[in-house]
């Protein structure tokens, strides 16, 4: 049981790490600030590479989140065990995934989203990401848990 929990935690953190890194790489900043000059990190300035990594990390994250959710349901664990903090993180994750999926759809050929819709999606996706990062940091420092 404990090992599954550990594995889960590792999968979650590794995915979060790569999805955030490749996500920030969607903005042209890593080259400007020499980060892509660090040996082994040159790929961070290659937009098509980071785009693909972001998509792959998203696939893993979505599969993982759905797995954890249904595992929770199937085990008959009551939703009342989820802490307020947990609910907050779930909401942010959901927002991140929904806006992300919509952006994937937007990027398909022959799909037109309105200009404003695209801007709202871009900014809300980035905002959800920033909130999740801060909340995750806070939860690590204050040892806040998803379930009580």
């Amino acid at each position: 049981m404990n090992t599954t929990k550990k594995t889960r935690q590792y999968v979650y953190w590794i995915t979060l790490f790569f999805i955030t890194l490749s996500g920030f790489a969607q903005m042209p900043i890593f080259k400007r600030y020499y980060i892509a000059d660090i040996p082994g990190l040159g790929w961070l300035a290659q937009f098509y590479v980071t785009h693909i990594i972001h998509y792959i990390a998203a696939i893993v994250l979505i599969a993982f989140v759905i797995y954890v959710f249904f595992d929770f349901i199937f085990r008959g664990a009551g939703l009342n065990r989820v802490t307020g903090f947990g609910f907050f993180k779930i909401a942010i994750l959901a927002g991140l995934i929904v806006t992300g999926v919509l952006m994937v759809v937007k990027n398909l050929p022959n799909i037109y989203f309105g200009h404003t819709a695209v801007i709202v999606l871009d900014l809300s996706h980035l905002s959800f990401c920033m909130i999740l990062l801060f909340v995750s940091l806070y939860s690590v420092i204050r040892k806040k848990r998803w379930v009580g």
Partner: protein
Amino acid sequence: MTSKLSRRAFLKGSITAAGSVVATSGIARAAKSITHTNKEPLATLLDISKCIGCEECVFACREANADKYPEPAKPFPKMYPNRVPVQDWSDKRDVIDRLTPYNWLFIQHASATVNGEQIDLTIPRRCMHCENPPCVKLCPWGSAKQEENGLSRIDPDLCLGGSKCKKACPWDIPERQTGVGLYLDLLPGLAGNGTMYKCDRCYNRLEKGEVPACIEACPEDVQTIGPRSEILKKAHALARQMNGYIYGEHENGGTNTIYVSPVPFEELNKSIETGKGKPHLNKVKNMMADGTNLAKAMIVAPIAGLAAAFGKFYLSSKEDK
């Protein structure tokens, strides 16, 4: 060469006359076809064999879009770190032999041998208006936009000048001008670097039911605009007729700019000058294809997650029994 020159000189003289003929026939027809209401994207056909390199289109573009050109305030704010390049074209507005923020269309020169005879060809070059434009789809702010009629453009009020669109574009089309745009109001020293510019296919003229300026100005009727399927049909008919070649139909997964040439594009590509602001004529693979394929794979993700959870539950319930 001489015959071409004299032909060009002759045509220079008769541009106004030719223009008025065009205005009543080709352009009127084109204008009609662009006001169509169905959602099919518009494409342009460029018959390279007709182009005489007079640059009327280039000047028409500059005139029609002059009020969109950047007017940067100087001195530019200092940008950090030092490696961030200042790109300033505001004192070189006269440059017309390449793409710049002040020149969205230029004429490329090529020579080739057809049936043992050497001919010179001139090719109008600008943004290809890709069907699935990476410049638009990968712009992190939604500053680069695609419209339903198939054109793509960069919003000068939103662009931060990070030049990602240029890096994503297989032809390196967008060009940057430092010292203008939204970044000046944010953190000009630390983020952004001006605004990117490129052909916007005269979106504002199209909105009014007018054809793009370069199409209207051409004395040789080099360009035609219309629904993509019709343009493709015309392009193939033309290519058959001249025993020619097509560029832009499949490049980068398909573009809304279809060139027809009597000479293979590989040959033209060897002959043209390429480099900064001077796009190539290489074959281009679909840059967004990997993303599109992964997007399809994404549908499997929730199913896989659910299956894994159910599998685990099933196994543990069997163990319990």
